[in-house]
Amino acid sequence: MKKHANVFANEITCEFILMMIIKIERRFMLELKDICFERNDRKILNHINLKLDTGKFYVITGPNGSGKSTLAKIIMGIEKPDSGTILLNGEDITNKAIDERAKMGIGFAFQQPVQFKGITVYDLLKLATNKELSKKEACDILSKVGLCAIEYVDREVDRSLSGGELKRIEIATVMARKPYIAIFDEPEAGIDLWSFQNLTEVFKEIGATSQGTTLVISHQERILNVADEIILLGQGTIQKVGAKEEVFDHIFKPKKCGKEVAPCE
């Protein structure tokens, strides 16, 4: 009888531990461990450690050249880190190819949208959703990013589109995939103020409804305002992670002169 009780208790602890593990994994959907990336003797990313929770809306901000895009590319698999590991739900994806990561649920809207001769917006959205997509559905996705859809579905994704239009289409391709981890690299860049409010709403909506994680690289206060957490990147390292106020405090704290910025020779 006593023996039996023991087995029972053991089972409970096993299950409990298992549940804890699942919880922990859920909590930290994406984890970067000690990521380093160096080019031309310059440390572009220097020992980056970061954990991104499920269901949260993150914004990465920081000066030009601080390594934001590089970090995003490393998550998507477009760049390979020199060292460090990337975990998705606890699984090591450091050596996985871009398309494998895409299939695992990572999506990335490029800072500079890529153009294609002869491929229409509709083609691209069909590829993105990887299913039979009606023109109506494609139009619905496009109207989310503020494009009057009918006019755009059959246009080619080439230089005949304006910068802002290309940018919106780029965002649409990622939205169409409904990724668990959606990364947008400066989505607001080149998008006019009129529709910008709208776009902020869209990101808010993604944040609120998606079970996944949204990571936006941005310099825009309006986007920073809707973030759950802001990650401040500077010179390849994470300077601060926290709510808006904390990070802003950090940014605007007076710095010692002469040390941070080396004068030009």
Binding site: D99, A102, V114, D123, L124
Partner: protein, 305 residues
Amino acid sequence: MNKEDKELLEEVVGEDPTKADSYNIRKNGKGIDRKVNPNINIAPKENNSGIDVYVKDDTLFGTVNIPVIITESGLTDVVYNDFHIGKNANIIIVAGCGISNNGHWDARHDGIHRFYLEEGAKVKYIERHCGLGVGDGKRVLNPVTEIYMKKGSYMVMDTTQIKGVDDTIRTTKAKLEEDTTLVITEKILTSNDQQAKTEFEVELKGENASTHVTSRSVATDDSYQEFISNITGNTKCYAHVECDAIIKGNGKVKAVPEIYAKNVDANLIHEAAIGKIAGEQLMKLMSLGLSEKEAEDVIINGFLK
């Protein structure tokens, strides 16, 4: 016409040629079927050496379909087709050649097409080429196109050579008078050890003549392509030549642009870009879940669409 012929025709024309208003089907050097109508006459030349197509003035929305098929290994077919397009006529001409070579000898078709556009005539000319068959004899196509455009006429020429042609030398010559526009779009895909050379010679003779030449090509494996364009502007005129090529494997592409302005008001532009598929295009499509191979196919198919 047997079943294979029909299939080859479909492959070339993309549709049933006998559905057109007027047509002429040529097989292994001889005309085998023809239809004319009151506005469009097709008259065979002597000795099966080709046809004369006469389109009456003011003919609207006519179609002329003149496919050629070759199924005999070792055959060389030379044909002269002349098109006389009347004033203000507006027609579509579909031509093309399919060679199915299952033998050891080369099969070759040299089509010389001459277009005479009267004042105000509008022509859309579509030309498709393909090679089929499993024989080790070559499939050779050397089309020559000559275009003479009178005042106010307009012509679009669309050429496609997507598969199976081992050797091609394509020559296109045009003379444009006042207020004319010539739009040429060319698409070529070569693979294995195929060779394709295309040469454009356009003379802008009359005021406000303009031309747009767009060439999109993909050279894969060990294939070789050459693109030569030669545009002369004699007066106030406009030309835009764009040569865009993707190379893969050991593919080689040479682009030789020549633009010659003989008048201060001639505005001539040439753009040429040759390179492999842009890495970022591959990465973007892979980030949408496509494998590298799938991404390449999507990019190339789109490019040649």
